[in-house]
Amino acid sequence: MISVKFFASVRERLGRANVDLELQAGSTVAEVLAQVEGITGVSLAGQHLLAARNQVHVPFTEPVADGDEIAFFPPVTGG
């Protein structure tokens, strides 16, 4: 099981703030995103997306382990 979180415009687009997923063996962050799109029926293609694994910025090629917290969000605009 992994916990997936969404923020800002991604959260609004998906209509939810989080989802729990069964992890598929050998998954990367990119594959988690594909699972999310499948479940929600919403495509995020063309969006500028960033990802975090366990609250640290990671590339989409990052492997995912069971129990991880994965997050997807648009470029940050704080400060």
Partner: protein, 156 residues
């Protein structure tokens, strides 16, 4: 080194006093406030969303990195979230050092890196409705410290 993420307003003068460093000869601070307008639309309010947990971690990481890179005595970062009004303070970065060059360099480093890595998102409330601020400083040429986003799915 202090990092705070909070909904409440803060007062620059009080914060600098509270974190005063007796041995410092220089303090450089940056205060970012909500502007009145943006792209010719009046701003009625600003809503700031963040990623609780990751935000604090990320700010602590950049504060530690500044401490490693520059000859500074201490730093303070306060960033607000929630609904803010025009002219409200959003972010304060302050750096104490013996000599001014290190404080200027570290303060600028902190705000530059924070803006491209700390998970905050701004939504402007205007008379025409609400809209996410989509500006991606790291995607623009000339960002001082480069594009820190580790990856993107699509070009911005």
């Amino acid at each position: 080194m202090t990092v705070r993420v909070q909904q409440e307003a803060f007062h620059l003068g009080a914060e600098l006093l509270a974190h005063a460093q007796p041995t410092a000869g220089a303090v450089v601070s940056f205060l970012g406030t909500v502007r009145d307008y943006s792209d010719a639309a009046d701003i009625l309010a600003m809503e700031i969303e963040h990623y609780p947990g990751m935000t604090e971690r990320e700010l602590e990481r950049v504060a530690q990195e500044a401490q490693r890179r520059y000859d500074i005595l201490d730093s303070l970062i306060i960033h607000r979230y929630g609904r803010l009004a025009p002219q409200d303070p959003i972010v304060l970065v302050a750096v104490w050092s013996l000599h001014r060059a290190a404080a200027f360099d570290a303060c600028r480093y902190l705000i530059d890196v924070l803006k491209t890595s700390a998970p905050f998102w701004k939504k402007e409330i205007t008379p025409a409705g609400a809209r996410w601020v989509t500006d991606c400083p790291g995607c623009r040429a000339g960002t001082q410290h480069g594009h820190v986003h580790p990856d993107v799915l699509e070009e911005c």
